[in-house]
């Protein structure tokens, strides 16, 4: 057992989260909540190297699982609620030496900086956190990361402009850190619509030819098909009730119709978004894209004063919402009407944008979905159930009680020819297999 020391200076908006480890050969890699990236010998648990990426007292923390590409460990900080300036950095797996760093908020003179005010240093606290591990395409030699909200979250007055590269996907060359392309889902965000989702890479027959696409269900309520070789916008459709934008134009820009206001603006979907970090899934067998969705949720955004002070939250006024961000303790009771939000797993056909089926849940869900080659969809939710659905119809085939909230993604693996499905629920790990 290895337990890294922990700085009491660390500041985390949303709990002491760790989304996992990475492994390369016999070395494990782990980010810590106080901003260290640590290499650990997988055989004996001894640390090999330890680098501090950033200052914990300024709100930088590492919550994502590192991504390994070739001989590099890729990492980026969370902390968009503390006025950080986000980045993605690569470290040599052997030595921990930093190889390159890509800033998610460009400095004066760099491309993209024109989307920030020239007259202030708003960009220095512009957010663009990296909460969730990206995806890598070895053929294109590109990796894709979603970026978090701009800072401050709920009062955009200090940062007129689109605020690149927040709420975006950036495609980077893993050898150099150079930006190949970017696409911004929510320009000038005021609703905390981090693009902290897992980029799903698929090869689709698209209008007569096979295209390397990226499927992305975003917190802002739209799901997207992008060409992942060049970032071209192919399609963007709402998958829940959305009122902040009236669709997406041909160029891929949302047609924005609402802003936060001093009196409060009621916005669908709510602050936790239409979906979030929970993994969606694509099955090449069914050709469907499966999205864990928060249906009919809304928040009221009231523009409040905001001022940057080192180490303090830099957010503006917290919005109100009907659904708790996290279901714990007394919140485990759900007496809400459907008008105040419910959950679903939705299956969309990317080619036609058609909703194929919808599995309704009474509460919203923080569970990832897993599809299998036997055409099953595994998922859980806040209600303590873990279940399997027919991937083609959404019909419920099996349900198990796991006695606690599922906020993880199911995983499947095989040992000695036997397939297992594992899920973490509450503070227990459940593993299922077919009876032999």
């Amino acid at each position: 057992m290895y337990s890294p020391p922990f700085s009491p200076l660390a500041r985390v908006c949303c709990g002491r989260v760790n989304r996992g480890l990475a492994i390369l050969g016999d070395t494990l890699f782990m980010g810590t909540i106080d901003g260290h990236l640590i290499a650990i010998d997988a055989k004996n648990g001894k640390p090999i190297w330890d680098v501090a990426l950033s200052k914990p007292e300024l709100g930088y923390s590492l919550t994502m699982a590192p991504l390994i590409v070739k001989d590099k460990v890729i990492m980026g900080p969370a902390g968009g609620e503390y006025g950080i300036r986000g980045f993605i950095a690569a470290f040599d797996a052997k030595t921990g030496r930093e190889a390159w760093r890509f800033n998610t908020v460009p400095a004066p003179g760099d491309p993209g900086h024109e989307t920030w005010p020239a007259s202030s240093n708003a960009w220095e606290h512009g957010g663009g956190s990296i909460w969730v591990t990206g995806s890598y395409d070895p053929e294109l030699n590109l990796m894709y990361f979603g970026t978090g909200n701009p800072g401050p979250d709920w009062n955009a007055d200090p940062r007129p402009g689109d605020n690149l590269y927040t709420d975006s996907v950036v495609a980077l060359n893993p050898d150099t850190g150079r930006l190949a392309w970017h696409y911004q889902f929510t320009p000038h965000d005021e609703f905390d619509y981090d693009s902290t989702q897992v980029p799903v890479l698929a090869d689709l027959a698209w209008q007569g030819r096979t295209r390397k696409v990226m499927l992305w269900a975003n917190r802002n309520g739209f799901w997207y098909v992008l060409d992942r070789s060049n970032g071209q916008f192919l399609q963007g459709k709402p998958f829940v009730r959305v009122n902040w934008a009236e669709g997406i134009d041909e160029k891929g820009k949302p047609k924005r119709v609402l802003n936060a206001s001093p009196e409060g603006t009621l916005v669908y979907p709510n602050n936790q978004g239409a979906t979030n970090w929970y993994s969606p899934s694509y099955s090449p067998r069914t050709g469907l894209f499966y999205i864990p969705s928060w249906m009919d949720t809304y928040s009221t955004y009231t523009k409040g004063p905001v001022e940057y002070k080192e180490g303090n939250q830099y957010v503006g006024r917290f919005p109100t919402m009907t659904v708790p961000a996290l279901r714990t303790g007394p919140g485990a009771i759900n007496t809400r009407t459907p008008q105040e939000g419910w959950g679903a797993i939705q299956a969309f056909d990317p080619k036609t944008a058609e909703l194929k089926w919808q599995f309704k849940m009474t509460d919203v869900t923080d569970s990832g979905v897993l599809t299998t080659a036997s055409d099953l969809v595994f998922a859980g939710g806040r209600e303590g159930h873990f279940f399997a659905l027919d991937a083609r119809t959404g019909a419920q085939l099996w349900t198990g009680s796991v006695g606690g909230q599922v906020s993880a993604g199911p995983m499947s693996y095989a040992v000695a020819g036997r397939q297992y499905v594992a899920i973490a629920a509450g503070s227990a790990l459940f593993v299922y297999a077919l009876r032999q």
Binding site: G15, F318, P319, L326, T335, T337, D363, D366, G400
Partner: protein, 265 residues
């Protein structure tokens, strides 16, 4: 694979179990009505002693106006609640960011711009003792409501209603019960496939079942698959007291309700 043949084995999930996909907590932002209620309870128990139930008892300070002298952002007010104000009688507290945040959310929810009934203003002179007599007697609220461990459970327990509702809201509730029924107090009408109709207060629900407290105070757990139909009842089972009580009686009753700040038993 047929799903009936799945077997389970559950392991305890210790610190050494590595689970790449496990995201225990996520971004936790924003306040629900339940948070604001909790903030209200914390305020009434920890702050009202000095600042008064309507936030204006410390001279020169009004906490429920939405504006503060010593800070403007939520973060600043949270810090003040945690650290106190040195050199004054405003004490530090051990509230977490989240707890202090709910107090701020509560104070903000009462600001004039929020549209919610303000806390300040005139609460007319009235009599708590007379109010209690009405509650138990003539108005017969006790026929449905429970207070401090006495009374039925078919309607919400009112033991701490004064800590979570404003006088103005309570007045409105008595005049027009249908105007605002909070989610936690909703009734549901379910019709089973056998044709039985069950109405009760919703205690909990999930994808597969609903738990109700029916009119005989029986806990019913209904499987959704056994139901033909179910719907939330939008109207309140509570009668209006518009023409049943005089203005003075109404004020006494509200004064009594406002005085109920105890924790639920």
């Amino acid at each position: 694979m047929t799903m009936r043949r799945l077997t389970t084995c559950s392991l305890l999930y210790g610190a050494s179990v590595l689970l790449a996909a496990s995201a225990v907590l996520a971004q936790e932002h924003g306040y629900t009505p339940a948070d604001i209620e909790n903030g209200s309870r914390l305020y009434q128990s920890s702050c009202a002693g000095c600042h008064g139930p309507t936030g204006d008892m410390v001279p020169g300070i009004d906490l429920m106006r939405g504006q503060f002298r010593r800070g403007s952002t939520d973060t600043e007010i949270i810090r003040i609640i945690q650290t106190g104000i040195p050199g004054t009688t405003m004490p530090p507290s051990s509230f977490s960011d989240t707890q202090a945040g709910t107090i701020v959310a509560y104070l903000r929810s009462l600001a004039p711009a929020s549209g919610r009934a303000g806390a300040g203003g005139d609460v007319p002179r009235s009599d708590i003792v007379k109010g209690k007599a009405l509650f138990d007697g003539k108005a017969d609220c006790a026929a449905c409501h429970r207070v401090n461990g006495n009374g039925p459970r078919v309607a919400p327990d009112l033991s701490d209603i004064g800590a979570i509702r404003q006088a103005k809201e309570l007045h409105e509730k008595l005049l027009d019960p249908n105007a605002l029924v909070r989610p936690g107090n909703l009734f549901l009408e379910a019709v089973t496939k056998n044709g039985e109709t069950i109405t009760g207060r919703v205690l909990n629900q999930d994808t597969f079942s609903i738990q109700l407290l029916d009119s005989h105070e029986r806990l019913r757990s209904l499987s959704r698959s056994a139901l033909r139909d179910y719907r939330f009842v939008k109207s309140s089972p509570m009668p209006s007291y518009r023409d049943k009580l005089s203005a003075e009686e109404m004020n006494d009753l509200v004064a009594y309700l406002v005085s109920l700040k105890g924790l639920r038993p």
